[in-house]
Symmetry: C2
Subunit: 573 residues, 2 copies
């Protein structure tokens, strides 16, 4: 008799586990899915809402044109799928799962030899009063995207408020504004966009990209309630007393692991609310495994259990869980954590910890910021990449990386995540090989360069100064660019201008007791100038990290938002 394996949850982790399990022919596999769809690529939902993807069905269709529905799973995978079916209770002793069809109310019990909990996540609940209305929605379930697009396409949304400037909130702002011409107000209380994956410099840089469209950023606005006005339209209240009327509200407040079922069965959860599992993805309850977004895994940077919500990883965890259920030795090592998205016209990606989070986690977090061309300068298609490396000053261990550019940068994070997982150091960045071709990179990669800059900072004492600090700097700013460069890329404010090639003959023009910051377009000449001055008896000389290109982008954006924002951020970093 075949083993009975029951999987609760029919998205990334559950379906990948089911597909893997069914290959062995030694078990009967059943998926219990609460919603009406299975195996939906929800990562494409913003693309659908924004009109880039044609039909919602495109998100659950195989490459060969067959819909991934219960029939597909039966015919192609030999897996039974129950949709619209809620798993209500696990009878741990009898190894039974009680389920209820949410349409018919019918209740059934399924016996299992092994149970996999792959219940994923669910939208986080707001901590404020929120009216019930079809015009107030999360953006998580397929139907959320379908409803939003339907209204947008019919022209019924003139203005929208999006609460939460994480990646969903930012992507949706852009889609709604660009595709449907909706006037968007993006609210967040945390002072900037993407605060959990980016430090202020790159957050502000990306915010700069909103200038070209109709998105208004309100990033010090703490939503305190959503009511309906007399016409039935939503009104968002903020703590500072504003009332924002609009046609639609999207709550993009992040997600929580969906663990009610597990908790009721006595399965242990961690400090972040996710299910705790061992390396083989077993829970503390015999016969029950867990995988995907509902699980806490070891954060390979901090060494502590963390939540990583990532369809890529959920997919692989599902496969690992399947092998573990089939009795194979499995060792899921944990995650360094990666992030990649397109936000306000730029690609942005990150791995590990921000400098802010690294400090909160107790590391002696230091950083360098850089700017490079993504292709050789002679390539007419070359565009700038900006990056920030975070490392521990005490032992030079790598802690995090953030990059933004036009495109083609996410794979740099793959190799960085591997270095994080292996607890590598700044020195190891410099040894990294780089498959170079002038069609898509420079001979020295951004990772090599960031490593070199960090070594220069720590071993040679040449400080890479954040543009946020330079904007507050009261010493002497020396612009070492060629005369011809200042016209096309002006550096704002008071500065001394000495082209780099003349510096060696101009030491006597400067007072060695002054503090200096050297600036150039991207950073390297500023670095060399600072080092030159340090070599020649000047005690305080540093350079502008990321160059004037980053500085100007941030300055413009900072001016557009509240003035004190910069100060807050500076004191944090």
């Amino acid at each position: 008799m075949k083993h009975s394996i029951v999987i609760v949850g029919g998205m990334a982790a559950g379906c990948s586990a089911a597909a893997r399990l069914s290959l062995s022919e030694e078990c009967n596999v059943t998926i219990i899915e609460k919603g009406s769809h299975v195996s939906v690529s929800t990562c494409g939902l913003a693309g659908y809402a924004g009109g880039e993807i044609d039909k919602p069905d495109d998100l659950s269709r195989t490459a060969f044109g067959v819909q991934r529905d219960p029939k597909y799973f039966r015919d192609f995978k030999n897996v039974i799928v129950f949709v619209n079916t809620e798993a209500q209770e696990i009878h741990v002793d009898g190894k039974k799962l009680r389920c209820r069809n949410t349409h018919t109310g019918e209740v059934m019990e399924i016996c299992y030899d092994a149970l996999l909990i792959a219940t994923g996540s669910q939208p986080a609940k707001p901590n404020f009063q929120c009216a019930e209305s079809p015009l107030i929605s999360s953006f998580y379930y397929p139907d959320d995207g379908v409803r939003l697009r339907e209204l947008a396409q019919k022209g019924q949304i003139g203005s929208a408020v999006i609460i939460g400037a994480g990646s969903d909130g930012c992507e949706l702002s852009e889609s709604l504004s660009e595709m449907w011409g909706i006037e968007v107000r993006l609210l967040d209380k945390r002072g900037r966009i993407l605060p959990s994956v980016l430090d202020p410099e790159l957050s502000l840089f990306l915010q700069n990209g909103t200038k070209s469209n109709r998105i208004a950023l309100r990033l010090s606005a703490n939503a305190s309630g959503i009511q309906l006005n007399s016409k039935g339209l939503p009104v968002v209240s903020t703590e500072d007393g504003q009332q924002i009327e609009c046609d639609y509200v999207l709550k993009c407040l992040g997600v929580d692991p969906a663990t009610e079922l597990a908790k009721r069965a006595g399965i242990k959860t961690g400090v972040h609310g996710g299910i705790l599992v061992d390396e083989s993805l077993k829970t503390n309850v015999s016969g029950i495994w867990a995988a995907g977004d509902c699980v806490e895994v070891v954060n390979l940077v901090t060494g502590t259990p963390s939540l990583f919500l990532h369809s890529s990883r959920a997919n692989m965890m599902g496969r690992f869980a399947a092998d573990s259920i089939m009795g194979r030795k499995v060792s899921f090592r944990g995650e360094a954590g990666t992030f990649s998205a397109r936000i306000f016209g730029k690609s942005v990606c990150a791995a590990g910890l921000t400098q802010e989070l690294a400090k909160e986690s107790g590391f002696e977090a230091s950083s360098v910021l850089g700017c490079w061309s993504d292709k050789p300068e002679y390539n007419p298609e070359a565009k700038p990449i900006f990056g920030k490396l975070v490392y521990d000053r005490s032992d030079m261990r790598l802690l995090g990386l953030q990059l933004t550019g036009e495109s083609g940068i996410a794979r740099y994070l793959d190799v960085f995540a591997e270095l994080l997982s292996e607890r590598k150091k700044v020195y190891d960045l410099v040894q990294l090989e780089h498959a170079f071709s002038p069609s898509d990179s420079n001979p020295v990669s951004p990772l090599n360069n960031l490593g070199l800059m960090a070594l220069d900072q720590e071993l040679d004492g040449v400080t890479n100064l954040s543009p946020l600090l330079v904007s507050q700097f009261s010493g002497v700013i020396v612009d070492v660019r060629e005369n011809s460069e200042a016209a096309s890329l002006p550096f704002p404010g008071k500065r001394v201008h000495v082209p780099f090639g003349e510096l060696r003959s101009r030491f006597h023009d400067f007072d060695s007791s002054d503090h200096f910051v050297f600036v150039c377009s991207k950073g390297p000449r500023g670095y060399e100038a600072a080092r030159l001055f340090l070599n020649h008896g000047f005690r305080n000389a540093s350079y502008l990290g990321g160059g004037i290109l980053l500085y100007n982008a941030i300055r413009n954006c900072a001016a557009a938002s509240a003035g004190q924002l910069i100060e807050q951020l500076v004191s944090k970093t």
Copy 2:
């Protein structure tokens, strides 16, 4: 008194070392360069010859518009550069270098405290008679590119023969054909293009790309001489008795390390002709370091010294050498070896060993071939990626990776090179994290997928069959695609057609003593079908690696070249 540091060679390694050394202000740095230019990005030379890059000076201009010439090095780097100056002899005992100006004949001697040999490489000499003519040239020095473009631009080259189908030969074929309408014959004796970095499958796949332009491949043609005819035009003779007349011949025969100077000074070289150095890049002669293409470094896959010719790595080695000369502890670990280029309209990249080279190096080299979409299938811009993973069957160690696709694939090789350097195994591929966003990748990366396929092959016995072997297969080929798919992507030759969803009800149609190959468009359904049959008592079932997409591309190309080519290649793999 400052240390005198002399660098022989003013390209990637030499200039990067000089720039780094000059930062310390503790030394006088002098570069001796034989040619008339320094710090030229020769990797852009094919781009210049092909008209994509406007002026040859673009290849030696800084990002801020200043030419990297001796004046630049003096003003910006405090480095003295002698161009047109040949280093003739090193007096090891007296620590002196004798040089000669190749224009004036003037001889000078420079004393050094440390000498860095960064003489790079030089075009390999042909092993056949070759007439002297301005119409017969290597493609290596800046002037080679300038002369070629001048003639091409003036319309003086109607037809060209390129000898050597390595990356230079292939890139030039394409540039000359596309940009200047030149009729190109590309000759190689090794049976396929890029044989040192690609196995036959991906070589043939890329060769398929030549169909769209005027490039004739002659890949079993061994050039035996180049003479001039009565009009002074080149005639290339081949061993099989052909005489090919043309307007221009390019010898793209690879490069050798330039080590004459080093050898005369008693510096040891290795089996590949490169200078031998220790981890700190010191040669066996006191006071002399070496870096860049003239050096043999440890191949981190084979563990033996090898030559890697790569401007990216030369650049970093120059910096390591500078630190070593300044007394810092340096440990250059060696290289796994990476390759990246655009060839016949595709991006192609590789790291480590091909299966062929791995076998020659004594590994039990096994492989899997795959095809995936480079973005989610619902993304209308999705394009196929093809890849081959090479690993050692005896211990599952990773040995090499080859990928080709439209674009954006080279960074996959960066992380793979890191895994190779750390002697990681197939299991580690499956653990790799992947910074996923639907705008530029799939949740499960090609590296994850190749790892999974290799595990399936070794642990579950589901063989991934090369299309070259499938084309010779005498058993039953079962096409498991949907009925609708065969029309747009026909599978050639005799086959049985059973859509995957019907397989489970059709076992009785097949004879379990037969041998089966299951085919689908990209591979996954073929794999699942093979596994299903193996589970149900069929003993010989495998699947087509890379799917029909790869098979058809290779078949077309194989048909276009000599028939026995395929057989040769098959017997090798």
